[in-house]
Symmetry: C2
Subunit: 299 residues, 2 copies
């Protein structure tokens, strides 16, 4: 941690070899290296990862890359928000050491053919709704782990299944990196921060509260003793119905490690929801080992 | 290179963390690290890789692991020769620093689900005959690259397509490792060394010469000006027919980088053959940029 660097400008790199040289040099100097991968369009959720990285490691690399291979045809790859100047300013303010923002042609030159399939935890839920998504995620994350060989990589709990997929890959492929998963950051009314919230109209923004409200309801019911997954799922569905959200991808109560459906809810259970609000697909989740709580954005 | 260590005993490891610690410590000491992956049953072809590694690097890790995931059901995984004591003696005589020989349960603990697909160059030839083979190869090689982060890894040209698959993976996944491919080592009569040659009966051993003889013939025809791939393939097929080998998987004349069939043979062409002699499947190849030559085993 280097508080004096907080207002210095991070080094913006697009060259892979320069990035690796810098990270390896930091490692040789005995520094612990943090990696915070993102697709940019940074919000306070991302910045909470950067803050954790800055607090826990000596050298922080943030990456900004809208990865085409994790979007299906018809998804929002082309219109995904690109806000590089604002992202760089936010990362500079937090004292990030290096920002890596490569071009698509650099990450996937002509003739790139290799992919990583994690299987297992990548198969249910998002794996059903977005069949090639985690292949794209695992492949690009592995590339980034090779390009910026960090000690610790930071991911948000909002993409819970993604964090499990990355952990599984790291274990299975014997990667020497630790995965830290940081809590979901929410608006004051409960909405989980997401770069896609910007797509929502005023009325959709109100409807979108159904995701966090259904999780909060499930948590409250669990706290007063309800353990029947079918009951919780039904009560959660009613929240979506009341909000007028018909396009639900899943409302799942699953084992937090394997993401297999459970019949009886316990402290090892996670509730996960995915739904389309207007044209915008949103996800959220809640771990039952603690009551639903709102972690607001740090100022 | 450390000639004084030539008769010292290499350190035999089965623990992954010990291996990584040793390699990282060698790197910190400024040594260049070589990795020579094998499935054991070492012959002079493997040992030529070890010799190259010893000559070109400061610290040599050899791995011995019969990787179950690169064998299909019905292939020779169970009866693949395991000759650990002889392998260790041979590696000791060459001054290898570390031998890593993990258990299957360590490389693939229960719940291991991640795989790597290289696509492209992995798809034709062996990819057709052994559909899951290169997935198993790529996955285990990537694991070994993570466990023993070497500067250079050594592969034999006998498994030419494998060397292309590994190179493609290394490029696509941005791995900081150089791939060295060493020439095929042959018996005096031309038979390419293979651990599977031990399976051959006396008469099959004679038949097996068809592979190298067909390549030698193709080379000779090329040297006197024949450029028509169809003609070469036909003449090669006649060598197999004369030897009484009916079970030919492929006789290919292909681009040496992409393994796509060519109509006109040139210096960038490779001839690749695969056939079953009795129950034993053998492969061999020849690059047309130089005349067919026999590199005999070093003594």
């Amino acid at each position: 941690m280097n508080p004096t660097a907080i207002s210095s400008q991070p080094l913006l790199l697009s060259d892979a070899e320069e990035l690796r040289d810098l990270v390896e040099s930091a490692r040789r100097d005995g520094k612990t290296v943090a990696l915070v991968p993102s697709m940019g369009a940074l919000h306070a959720g991302h910045l909470s990862l950067v803050r954790a990285a800055r607090a826990e490691c000596d050298f922080t690399v943030a990456t900004i890359f809208v990865n085409p291979t994790q979007f299906a045809p018809g998804e929002d790859y082309r219109c995904y928000r690109r806000t590089l100047d604002a992202d760089l300013a936010a990362l500079a303010a937090l004292g990030v050491d290096v920002v890596f923002a490569p071009a698509v042609e650099q990450m996937y030159p002509d003739g790139h053919t290799t992919t990583v399939d994690v299987g297992g935890v990548a198969l249910p839920l998002e794996g059903v709704c977005r069949p090639d998504h985690f292949r794209g995620v695992a492949t690009v994350v592995l590339k980034l782990f090779h390009l910026a060989p960090a000690h610790v990589a930071y991911f948000g709990q909002k993409d819970y299944q993604q964090s499990l997929v990355v952990r599984q890959m790291v274990g299975d492929l014997d990667l020497p990196i630790r995965i830290r998963v940081c809590p979901i950051v929410r608006e004051a009314d409960g909405l989980a921060l997401s770069s896609r919230n910007e797509y929502l109209s005023h009325s959709e923004r109100r409807q979108a509260l159904a995701l966090s409200q259904s999780l909060r309801l499930a948590s409250e019911l669990y706290c007063v003793g309800e353990r029947d997954a079918a009951v919780l799922r039904q009560r959660m569905r009613e929240v979506f119905n009341s909000a007028g959200i018909g396009d639900i991808d899943y409302i799942a109560l699953a084992d937090r490690d394997r993401l297999e459906d459970v019949a009886v809810v316990g402290d090892e259970t996670i509730a996960l929801v995915a739904a389309r609000v207007g044209k915008t697909r949103l996800i959220d989740n809640h771990l039952f080992d603690a009551p639903f709580a709102i972690h607001p954005a740090a100022r």
